[in-house]
Each structure stands twice: as C-alpha cells, then as structure tokens.
C-alpha cells in the first residue's frame, strides 16, 4: 500500500469557470521514497501540494487523497500534520518576534538547532537568535523552513521548489536536506524545476495540464520533460514547457 495515494483527483479553482487545474490526477508516493514532481509553471504542482496539505480554499471537486490507506477528507492542516504530513512552502512566510531557535523548537523542544542549521548551510552562531522576519533573505528563510520541517521527523515531507531562491552553489545543501529526510525514513514529494535536484529522487513524475503524463526513472522522466513530448497536449508537443 502506498503511503500517499491520489485517485482521479479533480480540482477547479472557480465553480463559475470550471477549467480544471487538476484533471483526473492519479499518483502515489511510497513510504521512504523520494518522488520528484516535474512540470512547467502553471501545471498544478503547487496546487497538488496545497490539496494534500489541506490548505484553506483548496478542496477537491472529486477524487480521493489517501494517506496510509485512510482518506484525508476534510481534515484540517494540523490534523494532517499530526498524521505525519508536512510541507515547506515555495515562499515561506515571515514572522515578527520569533527567533530561529524558537521557530525550530515549537514542536520539538529538545531539538539540536545548531545541527539543523548547519545541515541547511547556515551558521548556528549567526542565525539561531535572528528573527524569522523580513530581515532574512529569501534563500535564508527557505533554508530555515527546511530545517523547521526536518525537525518534525514527518512521514511525508512535501517540498515545494526547495531550490528556488537558493544560489546554485548551494545545491548540495538542498540535496543534503533531502537525503536527511530519507535517512530519517520520511517519504519526500519533491517539486522542482532543477534536473540535478530531481535526479536524486527514487522516482519522478511529470505533470502537465493537470495530469501525470509519465512516471518512472528520474533520468527518463527528465529527458521526457525536456523533449516537450506530451500525451495530453493536443498535437503531442507540450504547450506548457
């Protein structure tokens, strides 16, 4: 039984204009698996992440999302989190008056924040007492968000473009984080545009026009993605890449 199983999922953003952002999407992530999700902008990757996490305003029009065999239904975010699902947003929000150390230990008081910060490439002595506010750059904030969900030891971590806003020289830091999730036994749903990040996945899927159009070996899926070949777009050439 897959850890995460999505069956024939349909999502429309507006009932008055029922164009389907997700159009009968079927997809699964196995326990302990790093599963990369590739797709161009606007193909529904982040929408899928919000639906799995149960974010406000995101409810499927039809279809099921099952976690460890049970339908998530209308469970709120915190209940999904307590089942073991968590997510790092593409653009993490800022918080006034909350230090990095506090942010990392809300749910795990005894956590070694220095080790976590070092793992995401930040100097603990410089960052532990800083606020998680607008003074942080986008890349710094992103690294802190990754550390904050790593400490939760989730069963399933959804990483929505963990590499965006992070300089190319630091790609290894992101790979280290993904590896750490895997080492902890977590499954990772990895949404990315970067081939070198996607290549560390155990499996990849390509999303186009609200559907998974190919799935399997990361190298083959990446090749398929780059070839613009698409089974769902009208003339066989992907309009979204």
């Amino acid at each position: 039984m897959p850890m995460l199983e999505i069956n024939d999922l349909v999502y429309t953003a507006d009932v008055l204009r029922p164009s389907r952002i997700l159009d009968g999407l079927t997809f699964s992530v196995e326990a302990g698996e790093v599963h990369a999700l590739l797709g161009a902008n606007g193909t529904g990757k982040s929408t899928l992440a919000y639906l799995i996490m149960g974010c406000g305003g995101y409810r499927p029009a039809s279809g099921d999302i099952l976690f460890e065999g049970s339908a998530l239904g209308h469970r709120p975010i915190h209940e999904r989190a307590r089942l073991g699902i968590t997510m790092a947003w593409q653009e993490p929000v800022r918080f006034e008056g909350i230090t990095v150390n506090d942010y990392l230990t809300f749910r795990n008081k005894g956590a070694d924040t220095a080790e976590l910060l070092a793992l995401v490439g930040l100097n603990p002595a410089l960052y532990g007492c800083r606020m998680v506010d607008r003074a942080l750059s986008g890349g710094e904030r992103k690294r802190i968000e990754l550390a904050s969900i790593l400490v939760l030891r989730p069963k399933l971590a959804i990483l929505d473009e963990p590499d965006s806003g992070i300089d190319m020289l630091s790609t290894n830091d992101i790979i280290n984080v993904i590896t750490a999730f895997k080492r902890n036994g977590a499954a990772v749903l990895l949404i990315t545009h970067r081939e070198e990040i996607a290549m560390i996945a155990d499996r990849s899927s390509q999303l186009c026009n609200g559907r998974i159009i190919c799935s399997g070996d990361p190298a083959k899926v990446a090749e398929h993605y780059k070839s613009r070949h698409c089974m769902t777009c009208s003339d066989g050439e992907c309009h979204y890449v």
Binding site: M53, C55, G56, P76, I77, H78, R80, A81, R82, T86, M87, W89, P92, V93, F95, E96, G97, I98, F106, R107, E145, S148, I149, L152
Partner: protein, 311 residues
Amino acid sequence: MSELEELIACFSGAGGDEKALADAASAHLAASGHRILSSRTVEGLVVDARGTWNGIRARVTVKAGVKLRNPVHMCFGVLHKKGTQKIEMDVRLEEGASAHFIAHCLFPKAEKVRHIMDATVSIGEGAEMRYSETHYHGLSGGVEVVPKLSVQVGRNGRYFTDFTLTTGRVGKLAIDYTVEVAENAVAELTARVFGHGSDDIHIRDKVLLTGKNARGLIKTRVAIEDDATAEVTGITEGNASGARGHVDCMEIVKDRAVARAIPIVQVNDPGAKVTHEAAIGSVDKRQMETLMAHGLLPEEAVDIIVKGMLR
C-alpha cells in the same frame, strides 16, 4: 509589607530588574501615588523630583557629554484600588549625553485609577536617549492612562521610545506623542499593546521631520480581542530635504473587537520622502497554515503569532 516593598515586588513581577534598584551604580526613582518612595542618582545625572498634591513632578538632566553606563530605572504606580497619579516630567539630555531610561508604570489592583503623564523631552546636539516603558494595569480594566509627550531631538541626536502593555488588561489608553526631529537626527517610536474585554486603545504618534536628512519611524503593534477597540494614528511630516519617514502599523483583531488605523503622511519638501504601511485583520492565513503544518493547533498558532508581533 511596606509600600516600597510592595511596589518593588510588583516592579519585579512586571519584568523590572529588582537588583538594579539596590545597585549603587544605577540611578532610580520610585513613586507611589504622589509620594516618592526611593531615589538615587549618579554622577552626571541631576534629578529634582518632588510630590505634588496629585502626583510627581520631576526635572531630570543628563549633563553634557555624560554617557550613563547603566539604565536609569523609574517605577511609578498606584497601589490602591482607586486614585489619581499625574506625572509631570521634564527630561533634558545636554549636548553629547547618552542615557537609557527604563520605566515601569504599575497599577496592579486598580479598579478606578487615572494615570496622567505630561512630559517634555529635550535632546541636545549629538545626544541619545532610549526610553523603554512597560505598563501593568491589573486585571479589572479600571485604569485610564493618558500619556502626553513632546520631544525635541536636536541636530545629530537620537531618540528611541518603546511602549509596552501586553500583560493584563489595558482599560482606557490614550497615548499622544509628538516628536520634532532636527537635522541628521533620528526618532523611532514603537508601541505594543494587547487589549481584551472592553479595553479602549487610542494611540496618536506624530513625527515632524523638520531638519535636513532627519529620520523617523513610527511602529505600532496592537492585538485586540473580545469587545476591545483600538484606533492608531501615525502622522509623519517630511518638511526638509533628505528627510525620510515611515509609518508601520499592524493590528490583529479577534472576536468582536474593532480596530482602525489612520496613517497620515505629509511631505512639504520635494526632497523628503515618507511612506506608510498598515495591516489590519485577523491573524495572517499563511502564517497560521505554516504553523499548523508544523502540527500546532489553531489556537496555539494564533497565540504564537500574536505574542511574536507584540514582542
């Protein structure tokens, strides 16, 4: 327990540094109602304080060039259920002086207490003053606090004030601060207030950037719940070339509480620039979702966000 001991116990409970009051190297002034209970000064600091029929009148001077190493602690309060306390204060920092004042205003048992502050502050050329004020008004909401402050910041001077009332009830609060900032001088006004029950909060901060390259920041953070109301007015005028000002107001509203923000920015010199941002509403949805995705309950997430904002 003597009145002083009671005041000190309350001072300590509100986050005050009890040891500082006993420290011979630190100046302090402690008064309950219209009685001065304890005071100490240090070299370079002149304090002339006396009781009036309804409060305290004090003239505080930091002599030219004197940089006070330790903060000056001020502890004012009314320890009875009913009463009035009017603080009349004249603070002067002479040229090149520097001082940090930490004030606690305490009304722990108040059921019907009025606290009025009428203060003037003059900061000389190149002088720097920091003024941190923490209030505790007890749990009944029977306090009316009316602080009025007029500040002149001289050339190259720096003035920072921070007002905090985040524990217990507020009652009625009507802050009215006006700060005039001279050439190359800086003023930052921060207020953090958490209102509950039927608390009524009015904050009016005005910064006049009158000198070339003067800098001003008004930052207000208010959270209100139950039936509390808040109105925050931040006024900044840029009246000289190179002047830069910003008004930043954030209010979080819960339950039936009502909040209003009125940023007023005015520029009277084409070389000046004043900006503002105001955000009022319930707790930010994305912040909530982020914390809930970490497994926090919605009420835990709200508590963390509000406390962070008021920190």
